[in-house]
């Protein structure tokens, strides 16, 4: 798979990863990103994925993927064995996001996390003017059936990273399914304008 076929946030994460790195993709889906990384960056890649069908797709691609979930399985991984850990569009669906973040920072030397922004202006307006729980393109579920049980704004997430002693190496805004470039994570602008973001973190 070429980078052009990857979801834009995944392609942006792929670009951050150095050649030959040891990578853990948490919530790796059908393995598209991992396979891309193995082919183009010759990484030593591993995955964790919830769906059995997706794990089968990964296994057939020759990837090493364990069926499991971020909330329960990360604790079993030893510290600092991976150069790079990826968690894309998943942290808001975990039961204990703070604990997941802690594990990611423990397991990987660098951590790339992408997440939707509940501070986006459309979300704010939907609640302010509509008086209903927001349903947007990025967050398309009703309140009663959403898997996104721990939504946050970019500012909230920045607070959490600081609380756990993480350094934000880079922050990239996501707008209209595309990467809109580097932003200052603690400025108010992206927290209104971006539909999501990718954070590159490391333990301080």
């Amino acid at each position: 798979m070429s980078a052009a076929n990857l979801r834009p946030d995944l392609a942006a994460i792929a670009e951050m990863i150095p050649q030959g790195a040891r990578v853990l993709d948490v919530g790796c889906g059908d393995g598209a990103l991992l396979e891309h990384l193995v082919r183009t960056k010759h990484v030593d890649g591993r995955g964790i994925e919830l769906s059995q069908q997706n794990v089968n797709a990964c296994v057939a691609r020759g990837l090493a993927v364990v069926q499991g979930d971020a909330d329960t399985d990360l604790a079993e991984y030893p510290a600092q064995v991976f150069d790079f850990v990826i968690l894309s569009q998943t942290i808001q669906a975990t039961e204990k996001p703070a604990q997941v973040l802690q594990h990611l920072l423990r397991i990987g030397r660098q951590v790339a996390i992408s997440l939707p922004n509940f501070g986006h202006w459309r979300v704010r307006l939907a609640l302010l003017l509509g008086g209903r729980m927001p349903r947007t393109k990025a967050l398309g579920y009703s309140w009663y059936d959403t898997p996104n049980i721990h939504l946050c704004t970019l500012a909230d997430f920045v607070d959490l990273t600081r609380k756990h002693g993480a350094v934000i190496v880079r922050a990239l805004a996501l707008k209209n399914d595309a990467v809109a470039g580097d932003v200052r994570p603690d400025s108010w602008g992206p927290n209104i304008a971006a539909q999501g973001a990718i954070f590159l973190l490391r333990k301080s």
């Binding site: 794990v55 057939a60 090493a64 364990v66």
Partner: protein, 391 residues
């Protein structure tokens, strides 16, 4: 060392047309060293092969059978006449594709289908070994398999695959001979036998030993067979291979050939006559002492023990690729035990995949029609074969 056709079976062949396989005899110059400190010589290993070994000798897959399995993985059983125990998995075009791979399956040491076990004649006494047969372990079984591969001129296996006790052997292969195998696929197994599993095995063994026809293990000399005890052992074990949900779905409280309860102890319920049937057919094909020895081998299995209690150390620097499969309703080798192996492999950064398949069929699911298991096995072997340039 000699190789002959047609191993000698304890039971008469009821399917004389079936391929009875081959046997390799290891002479006194090639003893099998055992974990108990004794060694076995001379001894024989009976085995079956399917497919063709390629010129590079790189397409061999070893299938390890479970407690009561045998080498007839994909062909008619010469004693029972039943089709191979993994016929849906192994064969031309099947997930373990014998058009591509050379499949070997050998009867384990201690078994009763042509490989040397307690029912065979002890060359030192000229009488059946019975309880003089040394206790064997999973590692001994694997050591014997490695000797068989040497005899067949196969240096490296493309894969070792097995379910239940076969999975234990696959894990032992990864620990003992990591450089003689590329891919390791343990299915529905564990790196150790649990207290509950040992408990069930002990019930089975006690049932056999309580049968007066067991005669202290010497039943062959007495011309008896502890069939009742062995049948009870099988009945108890068989319950552990199923799940409560599957038993309820298949049998419920349905009555067997009657309209009402009999108010007697003859089998009223379908589940009772089903278990009776399982017990009765088992004793026709299995040796009671073999059952004692092989259950003991499983009980003794604790891979971590060889590595000061650190399971991960069994796989340190492993060059192998692993694919582990568990089943949601398997309470004999539950997902947690399978996952424990996956976690140990993760801890040493081994290449491991793990899949948990949803089914209500219990431990036996690995022998049954589970399309997702077939997909996993096929996908994994395809990727392994591709990386080894096997067409």
């Amino acid at each position: 060392m000699t190789e002959t056709a047609n191993p000698r079976f304890l039971r008469p062949l009821s399917a004389p047309g079936a391929d009875a396989g081959k046997v390799v005899h290891f002479g006194a110059d090639k003893p099998l060293t055992l974990d108990c400190g004794r060694s076995l010589s001379a001894f024989s290993i009976a085995y079956m092969t399917y497919g063709t070994l390629n010129a590079a000798r790189s397409n061999a897959i070893l299938i390890c059978h479970a407690l009561t399995g045998d080498q007839f993985v994909a062909s008619e059983h010469p004693v029972t006449g039943k089709p191979g125990w993994w016929g849906m998995m192994v064969g031309p075009g099947k997930p373990i594709d014998t058009d591509r791979f050379f499949v070997i399956c050998a009867n384990v040491i201690g078994g009763c289908m042509g490989t040397t076990g307690p029912a065979e004649t002890d060359p030192a006494t000229g009488k059946p070994y019975a309880l003089d047969f040394p206790l064997v372990t999973i590692r001994d079984m694997v050591r014997a398999q490695a000797m068989l591969l040497d005899a067949l001129g196969i240096d490296t296996l493309l894969a070792v695959i097995g379910g239940s006790m076969g999975g234990m052997q696959a894990l032992q292969w990864a620990a003992s001979y990591p450089n003689r195998v590329r891919a390791v696929m343990p299915i529905a197994c564990a790196a150790r036998h649990s207290a509950q599993n040992i408990a069930f095995h002990e019930v089975g063994r006690q049932a056999i030993m309580a049968d007066p026809d067991w005669k202290g293990g010497d039943y062959q000399s007495h011309g008896t067979r502890p069939s009742k005890g062995l049948a009870v052992a099988r009945m108890a074990a068989h319950i552990t291979y199923l799940s409560e949900a599957a038993l309820q779905r298949k049998f419920g409280r349905n009555l067997q050939n009657r309209e009402a309860l009999s108010f007697q102890f003859a089998p009223d319920f379908q589940i009772e006559s089903y278990l009776h049937h399982q017990g009765a057919t088992f004793v026709d094909r299995f040796d009671a002492n073999s059952y004692l020895y092989i259950t003991r081998a499983m009980d003794y299995f604790d891979l971590a023990e060889d590595y000061a209690g650190h399971l991960a150390d069994a796989f340190r620097d492993s060059p192998n690729r692993f694919c582990i499969i568990s089943f949601t309703s398997d309470w004999l080798f539950p997902t947690a035990e399978n996952k424990r192996v996956a976690h140990a492999l993760n801890a040493v950064a081994a290449k491991v995949s793990f899949v948990e398949i949803k089914t209500d069929k219990g431990h036996d699911a690995f022998l049954l029609d589970e399309p997702e298991m077939f997909d996993t096995v096929r996908g994994f072997l395809n990727s392994v074969a591709a990386s080894e340039s096997i067409s």
